[in-house]
């Protein structure tokens, strides 16, 4: 894949108070062909959002003037621009809070550059997908959302309605982590009286999906667990 080609003209806003990190991100992302702008706090980020009009935001949570989660919410009030959080906070509650506030993905610092590129591509592609191709392909797995069709190595797999609904949410968000709550909201309606029970049901459903789709369910490759946060569907080979 010619990544430079794909990325050319795409604008990324980097929000981080650490100069070294901004420098590293700018160097890496520029070399990928992205157009990069920097902000060192939340206020600058919100200003740049209007002036620079980025296609995606790479946002640190620990900003000097306001918390990254607050910045996320403020961005969401204005636009649906994808946001990838990069933070040293590694507790699952931090991740869930950021994701539920509207962030599209979450990377714990330190991270490798290719990992960040992949996440960025995933979040930006999701936005494009809405009007795009309803067929999702990864390795031996094929999901055709328009036909409710799932195939592994060309063989059709029979899924229960719940399994299909969960898989559909994953496919629509392929490549980014999606929290349990976000899946449950979309699959089990908004009636969440027995949240614990539904959460368990989700885990069972995912387990069954793996049994049907994964070549080795004990070492899943398609549906990945983000411990304590949610699931992520493999997006790139």
């Amino acid at each position: 894949m010619n990544e430079t080609g794909i990325s050319s003209g795409v604008r990324i806003l980097i929000v981080d108070d650490e100069k070294a990190i901004r420098r590293f991100l700018k160097t890496s992302l520029s070399s990928q062909g992205y157009e990069v702008a920097e902000a060192k706090n939340g206020t600058e980020a919100l200003t740049a959002l209007k002036s620079f009009r980025p296609d995606a935001v790479v946002l640190d949570l620990g900003l000097p003037d306001m918390d990254g989660v607050v910045v996320t919410k403020k961005i969401r009030e204005l636009t649906q621009t994808p946001i990838v959080i990069v933070s040293v906070r590694d507790q699952e509650t931090d991740k869930i809070n950021a994701l539920d506030a509207g962030a599209d993905d979450y990377l714990t610092k330190p991270f490798s550059a290719p990992e960040l590129f992949a996440r960025l591509r995933a979040v930006m592609r999701r936005l494009a997908r809405v009007q795009d191709d309803p067929v999702f392909n990864i390795d031996d797995l094929m999901v055709d959302l328009s036909k409710r069709l799932v195939k592994v190595k060309g063989t059709e797999i029979r899924l229960t309605p719940t399994e299909y609904d969960v898989l559909k949410v994953l496919v629509l968000n392929a490549g980014k982590v999606i929290t349990h709550q976000q899946i449950i909201k979309q699959v089990w309606s908004k009636n969440q009286k027995d949240y614990e029970g539904i959460e368990h049901l989700l885990r069972v459903t995912v387990s069954n999906l793996r049994n049907k789709l994964e070549p080795d369910p004990s070492r899943p490759t398609y549906i990945l667990t983000d411990a304590g946060v949610g699931y992520r569907l493999k997006f790139e080979a």
Partner: protein, 891 residues
């Protein structure tokens, strides 16, 4: 006593802060201080020295005035009076002669800080308020005025006879020794003999009444030498005594080189106080530790004598002795036993003043002690003759009279009974009833009434029941034997019964004390903390002393009331407790200090360490507590203090241990962290700097450098995460979020993390298909498994397989990670889960040793187990066992 109470009552009415101030200062301050200028003869310069001292005091701004000074017209002395206020004397007219005397009331009214009153031994003119001048001085002192006075050795009562023996002259004007003993300061005015003789020759010494003595050759060189020596020695001893008793009173800790240990044995005899004084002098002379004991041999002892014993023991204590009462029937034996068990080197006894029958048979107690003393010296002191045993108080006689009356009634009763059954019994058998009566009298009313009953019985028996009746005449001589037998048996029975009774009473009292003590110490020993001790004290004292208590504990510099006191604590009571805490000696009710308080306050101290104060409000209505109860109270206080000390020491030791452990941990942590954080940095910095600087670097080497740097950052990241996890665990910030999960999901998720490091290995995952879900905190358990897999990777060569297996075993789901690595030395298998423990391995294997300790904490929190073992064929097996949950079954 009354006067003192009155004074304290005044204090009660003053503002609390004023009172606190007084309580904080020495109580002695309220009394004036007495300074004696002491000499061996007239003419040695006492008055001169005294006036010089007053001049110095005045120069220092102290308000001094002269109450009475006799300059005898000497110029040099008169010169010193210049500029010092002299309070006018008054003139007492006696038998037509007018005699000048100090105007006591004028001095009291003038109230100087220091009053000068010459010639302590002076006898006032008849008609004065006090007979002797020392009484005037005592009144001045009591009113708070300091007094400077002069005294010659020959006027001291205690030296009267010695001086008389030396000089052949008996002094009429004497001063009790206690005045000198209690003096606050003694300054010896000393002039060499030759000089004095010269001054005498020159007529510079006024001799007054001693003019006649001069004629009797009082002032010969030999006499003066002897007097001077006695004077100096006595003064030295007093000063030394004062220093020592001061130190002891203040409980200033030694060095007390107690080479000699003295034991003074006292009785209820008034002369016992003399024994104590003699003991003190000896103890001071030998620099010895000394004990004063009273042996209670269960014989009846009157209230007045008991009280005297108590006072004597108290005095002994004030003089620095360890004073106590011992119980035992054999006095001499008890003395020797006590002496032996306390390493006493000298025993001091009083010379017996009279001998009774049993003394003739067994020897006196002194004889017995001497006989059994072995290598202990025995000193026998002869008391002064005028110390006669005081007559029992009328109250006791009155009480006795009613007992005697009871005896008469009893004998009458028996006689009436005898009259009724006379016809059926031989008269000799009737005598038995009288004996019974004697026993009853002995048990109920003691020795005297029973002896009286015995005598009365013989007479009544003879009068009514022996022919011829109603006379004391006896016709049958055999009745003489009956009478004799009745009397002797009666007397013996009376004696034995009384003794048995007294011993039983005493034994009961002592048993009660022992039980109380035992109980207290038992409870105190079990007490784990201070509040438990306080509780025990509150519950215990009510039972033992019929009293209500308040416990104060020293917390830092302040003294704080603990728990719920049994009586109201007013500012005044608090102030007394504060005084006790500061002075480390008892005060309050029943003591001689601040006795106007409602409760007695005893320090809770061990040695010189004070932990608090115990306030006890007794229901007992007497003026002070009986001696034995006072002892018990002191023992209780000591027990409590020891318990507090023990608890504090244990706590201190625990803190020290914690600190030490923390220190060791910190050292290990720093060593570990500095090593483990720096090592990866070395590689990263090295690789990257080479790439930056070395322009000729081959592409292959660049790649190698980058791989190294990247791998090291991954490793460093893991280390930092472990440190953070440890910190969170330490802070208790880990909260388990328990939900049922598939082990397969757990294993799959963790393996995914290790995709890169595991890319060259064969990893086999064997999870039994019927494995139920396991309730766990997924994230924490993922950390555990990650750590173990990381270890397997680190400690085994890169191309050897790693197996992961999971199955049910008993009530657990086991997850095993098996490698083919180096294995773990047997000795280390247990310890690898300890914090900072690292298996001694070749250098290239690093880790803080935090990983496994974190794993263990997490698994423990899950009520699971984690262990390591050797794998047959090489390598090791790590097993995590998590409890099987019954509720959730695999679907």
């Amino acid at each position: 006593m009354l006067e003192q109470n009155h004074k304290n009552n005044d204090l009660n009415h003053s503002a609390p802060e004023v009172f606190l101030e007084v309580a904080a200062s020495e109580e002695l301050r309220k009394k004036g201080k007495l300074k004696i200028f002491f000499g061996y003869s007239a003419g040695v310069g006492k008055t001169y020295a005294m006036l010089s001292a007053i001049r110095r005091a005045k120069e220092n701004g102290i308000d001094a005035a002269i109450g009475y000074v006799e300059t005898h017209g000497r110029k040099e002395t008169e010169g010193l009076l210049d500029g010092i206020e002299i309070i006018p004397r008054k003139t007492v007219v006696y038998k037509g002669a007018s005699i000048p005397e100090m105007d006591l009331d004028a001095v009291l009214k003038r109230r100087p800080q220091i009053a000068v009153v010459d010639e302590l031994a002076h006898t006032n003119a008849p008609g004065s308020r006090h007979l002797k001048r020392f009484q005037d001085i005592e009144e001045l002192l009591a009113s708070g005025i300091d007094v400077y006075t002069t005294l010659n050795i020959q006027h001291l009562e205690g030296f009267n006879d010695v001086v008389a023996r030396i000089t052949g002259i008996v002094m009429k004007e004497t001063v009790p020794d206690r005045i000198m003993d209690e003096a606050d300061e003694i300054e010896v005015a000393d002039t060499p003999i030759g000089e004095l003789l010269q001054r005498l020759k020159d007529g510079k010494v006024y001799l007054g009444e001693q003019a006649a003595l001069a004629a009797q050759n009082f002032f010969n060189e030999g006499n003066l030498n002897a007097l001077r020596e006695i004077t100096l020695r006595h003064a030295a001893q007093l000063v030394d005594d004062q220093v020592q008793s001061y130190l002891k009173r203040r409980a200033i800790s030694g060095p007390w080189p107690a080479r000699e240990r003295l034991l003074v044995c006292i009785t209820s005899h008034p002369a016992s106080s003399e024994l104590v004084r003699a003991g003190r002098l000896l103890a001071a002379g030998f620099d010895a530790q000394w004990f004063v004991v009273y042996i209670n041999n269960s014989k009846f002892i009157s209230e007045i004598n008991r009280d005297r014993v108590m006072r004597t023991l108290q005095m002994a204590e004030q003089l620095g002795a360890t004073a106590l009462t011992l119980s035992g029937y054999h006095v001499a034996q008890e003395i020797i036993n006590y002496a032996r068990s306390n390493n006493v080197t000298k025993i001091i006894l009083g010379k017996p003043l009279k001998r009774n029958l049993s003394d003739l048979l067994k020897g006196t107690i002194v004889d017995q002690v001497v006989e059994q003393s072995g290598d202990i010296d025995v000193h026998i002191i002869t008391p002064k003759k005028n110390n006669k045993m005081q007559v029992e108080k009328p109250a006791i006689i009155k009480k006795s009279l009613s007992r005697y009356f009871n005896s008469i009634l009893l004998v009458i009763g028996i006689s009436l009974f005898g009259g009724v059954i006379q016809a059926r019994l031989a008269p000799t058998n009737l005598a038995m009833f009288y004996l019974l009566g004697v026993v009853v009298a002995a048990i109920r009313w003691g020795r005297g009434p029973s002896v009286f009953a015995a005598l009365l019985s013989v007479l009544v028996f003879d009068f009514f029941f022996v022919k011829p009746y109603f006379t004391f005449v006896v016709s049958d001589t055999q009745y003489i034997f009956t009478f004799a037998a009745l009397l002797i048996v009666g007397l013996i029975i009376s004696r034995l019964t009384v003794r048995t009774r007294d011993q039983a009473v005493d034994a009961r009292a002592r048993e009660a004390q022992a039980t109380a003590l035992y109980n207290l110490s038992r409870y105190l020993t079990a007490a784990k903390d201070i509040s438990a001790i306080v509780d025990i004290v509150y519950t215990h004292f009510v039972q033992t002393f019929h009293s209500r208590v308040a416990v104060f504990l020293k917390e830092g510099a302040s003294l704080n009331l603990q728990g719920n006191p049994g009586y109201p604590i007013t500012e005044h009571e608090k102030a007394v407790a504060t005084w006790v805490a500061q002075n480390k000696q008892a005060a309050g009710w029943g003591t001689e200090t601040l006795s106007a308080s409602v409760a007695q306050y005893v320090p809770l101290k061990t040695g010189d360490n004070i932990f608090g104060v115990l306030g006890i409000k007794f229901d007992y209505l007497g003026e002070r507590l009986p001696l034995d109860e006072r002892r018990l109270l002191e023992t209780f206080a000591t027990q409590i203090a020891l318990a507090i000390e023990r608890v504090l020491l244990v706590e201190e030791a625990r803190q020290m241990q914690l600190m030490r452990e923390k220190e060791i941990m910190q050292t290990a942590l720093f060593d570990s962290i500095s090593h483990d954080l720096k090592t990866p940095l070395v590689s990263i910095q090295g690789s990257l700097s080479d790439m930056l600087e070395n322009k000729n670097l081959e592409e292959r080497s660049k790649q190698a450098h980058l791989e190294t740097a990247y791998e090291e950052t991954v490793r460093m990241n893991r280390l930092v995460n472990n440190l953070l996890d440890t910190a969170r665990l330490e802070a208790g910030a880990f909260k388990l979020s328990l939900k049922p999960y598939e082990v397969r999901d757990l294993v799959g998720t963790v393996i995914k993390e290790f995709e890169v490091p595991l890319k060259d290995r064969k990893v086999t995952v064997k999870i039994s298909s019927d494995l139920p879900d396991v309730v766990m905190d997924f994230i924490l358990m993922a950390k555990v498994l990650a750590n173990i897999i990381d270890n397997a990777i680190k400690y085994s060569p890169f191309n050897l397989p790693i197996d992961i297996e999971s199955a049910v075993a008993d009530d657990y789901v086991e997850i095993k990670v098996l490698d083919r690595g180096l294995g773990i030395p047997k000795d280390d298998l247990e310890r690898i889960f300890d914090k900072f423990y690292r298996v001694k391995q070749p250098e290239n294997f690093e880790g803080t040793g935090l990983g496994l300790s974190i794993c263990k904490r997490i698994v423990d929190a899950h009520k699971g187990k984690i262990w390591a073992e050797d794998r047959t064929g090489g390598g090791s097996i790590f097993t995590i066992a998590l409890p099987l949950s019954k509720g959730h079954v695999h679907e």
